[in-house]
Subunit: 286 residues, 2 copies
């Protein structure tokens, strides 16, 4: 069932609650791929009813980012969701979410702002305001759907940490479930932004997962010094790669470390053909 | 029933929900007076179960404000609540609300930030960060108690406007009920901070309600020019009064006006004996 209005979603949810059903929410920006489908499948396993939101959220894009050209494929997304047995696809307009005619700034709208310590690094360093936009829209979706569980991908690792922190700090009664990264056979992490890449670009993009895997292998072989681990990346990089960051941090607090350990995550962001790609790996799977 | 732990409150609320009871929340900082009691009575009328939170919220006090000396009278508060038939008094510690050992800043905690336009005036102009602290704690209390309705006093008019705005902007499934200001027979608006005043100070404090009533009377007689209405205040003020602001604004958007109308609120903040007092009046009761 495709719904565009907040009130319609609330009505449906209210009925489910009365009947004692649990609800899972999978928040997406659409352009669904197998990564999203893995979240949906997990939600179907764990909850009686599943809501997938499809909303390209304007307030999480910076002025020079790809909001306008971000892929929008609602018809295909809805079909995929139907095939997976999703109960509601919630696809509101920006006006439905933020009010007609509102300027979308913190001058006129209430924002949910994650802590600077978690924001002022990795993607947050270049994407100013991005995580305020993410937390605000996720908070809104939580209030609209009131899910028992919400499903996020490890692919956006900083986002997942920040969402968990928001849920804890604001006592939000939602359980956050994180699902593993889904990759092409080549190793390339699935992303809606992969659509921007040429065939050659996709090959150049494999460097991200190769760098991460190599660091993980080095760690398994006993190298724990973070500087040394970072150094191993450079031989992989060519003039096709515009590295934005490579960081080795605590996987839950995003604190810097001198020595890697089993609570460590390695994160990379790199532009290929001017497409900004991100990927990450835990040094120890749990 | 006096509870200190978030989980205890959640458990009790869950039981009520299952039994189909509605819940009302009255958020307070304790030091309860007849103003708070009017909120509690209203909540008892409109909801099956009533929760009163008593929490002097550190993050809404500035460094030079009265957090340490703010009156704390939990025993008397609990007794009053029992007499009124309150079901839960929720009195957490700061550590319970914000985590043990957390520094209480937006460097380490997620904040809910109301829009600058609503904050950067009236009390928000001098109380930097105050309304971020208020919105954050109210958001947390909403998530902990998940009330059907929450009750706020008109006395803190800017706060009430900002809370309504937060609820709307973040799609929070709580109905906000605003209750009228309760006054002493003299006209003095009730406030926990009145305890700081001497008998003489209480007399000097009457100037606030007199200025407001006089402006309302002038409006009723046909004066609508905002500058002219403000001018009428000055004859009331003596060297005992340190006026912080006198504003005449739209009661819902807090926009400035040149001409007062039936959607207008008059707000005053003034120090008497160095105690900061606030009061307000609608030009037209609705």
């Amino acid at each position: 069932m495709l719904l565009n209005k907040i009130e319609e979603v609330r009505e449906q949810i209210k009925t489910w609650r009365k009947e004692g059903f649990t609800t899972g929410l999978v928040p997406t920006m659409g352009a669904l791929h197998a990564g999203h489908l893995s979240l949906i499948k997990r939600a179907k396993q764990e909850c009686d009813k599943v809501v997938v939101s499809v909303f390209v959220n304007p307030i999480q894009f910076g002025p020079s980012e790809d909001f306008d050209k971000y892929p929008r494929t609602l018809e295909a997304d809805t079909k995929l969701c139907e095939q997976e047995g999703v109960d509601i696809v919630f696809a509101p307009t920006p006006a439905e979410m933020y009010g007609e005619g509102n300027r979308l700034t913190n001058d006129t709208l209430t924002y949910v702002c994650p802590p600077f310590f978690y924001v002022n690094k990795l993607c947050g360093k270049t994407r100013i305001g991005h995580f305020d936009g993410v937390c605000t829209v996720v908070n809104k979706l939580f209030n609209i759907v009131q899910p028992d569980k919400a499903f996020f991908g490890q692919k956006d690792a900083q986002q997942a940490v920040i969402i968990r922190k928001m849920v804890k700090d604001l006592n939000i009664p939602v359980e956050v479930i994180q699902c593993p990264i889904i990759r092409e056979e080549s190793g390339l992490a699935l992303s809606s932004r992969n659509k921007y890449l040429s065939e050659e670009g996709k090959k150049d993009a494999l460097v991200l997962s190769r760098i991460l895997n190599n660091i993980k292998n080095c760690y398994k072989k006993g190298i724990t010094d973070v500087s040394a681990l970072k150094e191993t990346a450079y031989p992989f990089l060519t003039e096709k790669h515009d590295l934005e960051y490579l960081e080795i941090l605590d996987r839950e607090t995003l604190e810097e470390k001198e020595k890697a350990d089993n609570n460590t995550i390695v994160l990379i962001a790199c532009r290929v053909e001017n497409v900004r790609l991100i990927d990450n790996v835990y040094l120890e799977d749990k």
